[in-house]
């Protein structure tokens, strides 16, 4: 069992109660024509539920398919244990971020890189008060990088250490391939483990000689937001094509300049040989918290909204990802929490017992066009055979920041468009609780309607079972979208079984080009729309899923600030 994420999480009841008491008055509308919002702020401690056990955490059928929890390796040879040579402090501003003015970066890049070439396991440890490593681009081929408790491995703020094209760190240039990754992973059974932290320093000023006010990675990304552009910032951890049996275990990731983890990995026996889930990849017990502080070292407020394109974990982003598990993780970031990217193929993935804070959702897509002919003759397509169970998504875990859009508060999202669409099939979202998300369920084939192409999204069997979205502090009515692409490419069957979205308005359900099955559990709205067929199989008045939201890691506000 992981250190921080027991299977049955204790409830965060206290914060729910106060929020409910404060916000109940907001619901007192004087306009009889507008339904009042109901603020429930969660439910009761599941341990006190009457005999029903804990339906939210009940994933027994899927738990039986999980591999054993990974373990930390044995200590390596002393020559493979590297001691920190500088210190950082949580007391700003002195020592807040590592000093990179004295050549320290070069030392750490070289010695970490050298150790990873000769050692099967490289362990980074503290040395007295020294607790920090700073490095440029690292390659990890078939080895294990172990960041010990108390240690932070920082990505350098110097773009020169990540240069891939001339545009790395250059403002205003739309070149998503400009920089190397911070850690590039490849080979057989590579791993990044430990109770330490890897910090990408995405919100800190870059090192630009001669520039007294250099931008941060995130500011470079934000500068392209107006044109919907894509900056070439480093990915924190990126797997190369051909990687097998990757493990990410217990590590904490902060402040990636762009995506945190891109996974392409499959079982050693082959992409379609999934003897045990996890043979392909394991992400177990990790924490992603971005931004990790309220301010950067320059005093600028850091919010999820400004940490643009900082996806949490994206299987399939670079190439195929199959036979994986993602278990007991906590993710709070500025873009998708998890996004299954089917640009090549994602197949057979279990996503169990995870807790999300701020972010753009538990997502599939937008790339779903992948077709992978495996050596054994099997053809994998898009995103298939996925099970998500026991998931909480809590948009109230911390403030998102000025300028936030509804998309900053997504729940479950399946997205694509005709430039990158393909098959999404045999996907089940089960036992999911959400709080104050704007888009509770978004099945969208028009991720960006501007994009042309004939890769039409083909969303097939997708099931939403035991889903409950509650309102606590939110003021907007949540929205459900169930859209296929066209009469030729309808979505469905989309099965809604025991699905309750509190405070959903009559105009807040959008559906078109879709075949929808309701039941057997109750659904508290009725989809309708252009070319929509609804089969109503509701046979019971099942109670909404009982939701309890754990307190998630979040930056502590400065003294005297209200959250």
């Amino acid at each position: 069992m992981s250190k921080n994420h027991p299977l049955h999480s204790p409830p965060g009841l206290a914060r729910i109660v106060w929020a409910a008491s404060v916000l109940l008055c907001v619901a007192c509308s004087k306009n009889d024509d507008i339904a009042s919002m109901t603020y429930t702020c969660g439910s009761v401690d599941p341990s006190a539920a009457s005999g029903a056990g804990d339906p939210v955490n009940d994933c027994a059928d899927l738990d039986a398919m999980l591999p054993p929890e990974p373990t930390l390796p044995a200590d390596p040879d002393p020559s493979c244990i590297l001691k920190a040579q500088q210190a950082t402090s949580e007391t700003p501003p002195a020592g807040w971020i590592p000093d990179e003015s004295n050549g320290q970066t070069t030392v750490d890049t070289a010695r970490i890189g050298a150790a990873l070439k000769t050692c099967k396991v490289v362990k980074l440890v503290t040395d007295g008060a020294n607790n920090a490593f700073v490095s440029g681009h690292i390659t990890l081929a078939g080895a294990t990088l172990w960041v010990d408790a108390g240690v932070t491995l920082y990505a350098s703020r110097n773009p020169a250490l990540f240069i891939k094209t001339q545009n790395c760190g250059v403002a205003g240039v739309n070149d998503s391939g400009a920089c190397n990754d911070f850690i590039t992973v490849s080979g057989a059974s590579p791993a990044v483990v430990g109770d330490g932290i890897i910090d990408g320093q995405g919100g800190e000023p870059l090192i630009e000689p001669g520039n007294p006010s250099p931008p941060s990675w995130w500011q470079l990304s934000g500068a392209l937001q107006q044109i919907d552009g894509s900056i070439g910032n480093p990915t924190l951890i990126n797997l190369s094509t051909g990687t097998t049996g990757f493990v990410l275990y217990r590590i904490t990731l902060h402040n990636s300049p762009k995506f945190h983890v891109k996974i392409t990995s499959y079982p050693p026996a082959g992409p379609t040989v999934c003897t045990t889930h996890g043979d392909g990849f394991i992400v177990w017990g990790i924490t992603i918290l971005t931004p990790s502080r309220w301010f950067n070292s320059q005093g600028l407020v850091m919010t999820p909204h400004i940490s643009r394109n900082t996806d949490g974990v994206d299987p399939g982003e670079t190439s195929i990802a199959t036979c994986g598990v993602m278990v007991h993780n906590t993710i709070s970031t500025g873009d998708d929490h998890i996004a299954l990217k089917g640009g090549h193929a994602v197949w057979n993935v279990l996503i169990l017992h995870n807790h999300f804070g701020t972010g753009h959702g538990m997502s599939i897509g937008s790339e779903t066009y992948g077709v992978y002919p495996a050596p054994d003759g099997t053809v994998l397509s898009g995103v298939t055979n996925v099970r998500v169970c026991d998931l909480t998504i809590d948009a109230d875990s911390r403030p998102v920041g000025n300028g936030a859009s509804p998309g900053d508060f997504n729940g479950i999202r399946v997205k694509s468009d005709s430039s990158r669409g393909g098959i999404v099939d045999d996907v089940v979202f089960k036992n999911v609780c959400m709080r104050d998300v704007n888009n509770a369920i978004l099945v969208s084939t028009a991720y960006n309607p501007l994009f042309a192409g004939t890769n039409y999204p083909q969303f097939k069997a997708i099931t939403f079972q035991n889903i409950h979205d509650v309102t606590c502090m939110g003021l907007n009515q949540p929205v459900v979208t169930l859209n296929g692409f066209s009469p030729a490419y309808p979505a469905g069957p989309l099965t809604l079984d025991n699905l309750t979205v509190d405070n959903i308005g009559p105009l807040a359900v959008e559906a078109e080009f879709s075949n929808i099955i309701l039941g057997p559990g109750a659904v508290n709205f009725m989809p309708s729309g252009l070319d929509v067929t609804v089969t109503n199989n509701i046979t019971d008045a099942s109670a909404p899923t009982n939701c309890v939201f754990p307190t998630l890691p979040a930056p502590q506000p400065p003294a005297g600030w209200l959250r």
């Binding site: 739309n174 107006q226 790339e367 066009y369 430039s419 028009a446 501007l450 994009f451 030729a488």
Partner: protein, 304 residues
Amino acid sequence: MRRLLALQTSFATLLLGGLLGSCTTNTALQTSLCSQDPSIEANCNALGVDGGPNGQALGLTGYQCSGSQRPDQNATFVQGIPSGLVCANRSAGVDGGTSGTSGAYCCTSQTTTCAYNPIAICDPGTYGYECQGANRPESFNPAITCGQGVPDPGQGLIDYCCSGVGLPTGCTELDTAICPGSTVGWGCSAASGVLPKGQDLAESKSRADEYYLLCAVPTLIGPNNIFCCYPPAQVPPGGTCVQDTTVPGCASTRFGFACYGDDRPDQDFPPMRCRDPGVPGTSYQGYPATVYCCDFAPEADGGV
């Protein structure tokens, strides 16, 4: 695509003013020159077998038109929302069916939130729609194919150029082309006369969030035009400059523009730098304009 930028703002106004009195939700258009045709309709809905994975009946209506008539030409705007049929031409006229020589159409049976745009300037063989919302014309009519959408900042609508018989052959990205700064090389058949478009980026996930390319005057190498292009920001509201690769004296790899108003290309398309003043001339569309020859010059590059 580039041509859509010039006249898009006037289309909605034109329709609104001219057709306000004809607000209707025609679902089975009958004009003296267009009539429903069951044999065409059978062919239209066969697309559900061949074109769609599920073989659904597509609910399209077949029309036979004569002259320059189209089944979708009576589109309207109701409180700023386009309303009209979306039709796929089923014969390959070079003008997309506007010359009066064609033909057969597969159309939606209901009005949609797209309106046929009779004044859109699209590539040969394609014709324009202006739509509201997330649905592309293909969503309403699977028999049609459309190019990259171009937002109309003034109306909040999206313009498309479409065809029922396939879009013109596109261009290919060339990593080997020598282009200034961070512009990217593209090769296109010189004979076709087409320019690189957003849809030529295809499903490139790394740059899928770019939808519009601005290209320099091409260099002719063999049978191909070699372009250097970059994805610019949207033209600000009121911007009147459009790219023009036919500006006299504008050399290869430099960017030509035609501006219909007082604005300059470096205002509309940063980081474009136009050192020389514009000169009165004629745009490639044949309208009086101030033409410019400019350079791609992001600050980081220190000019080209």
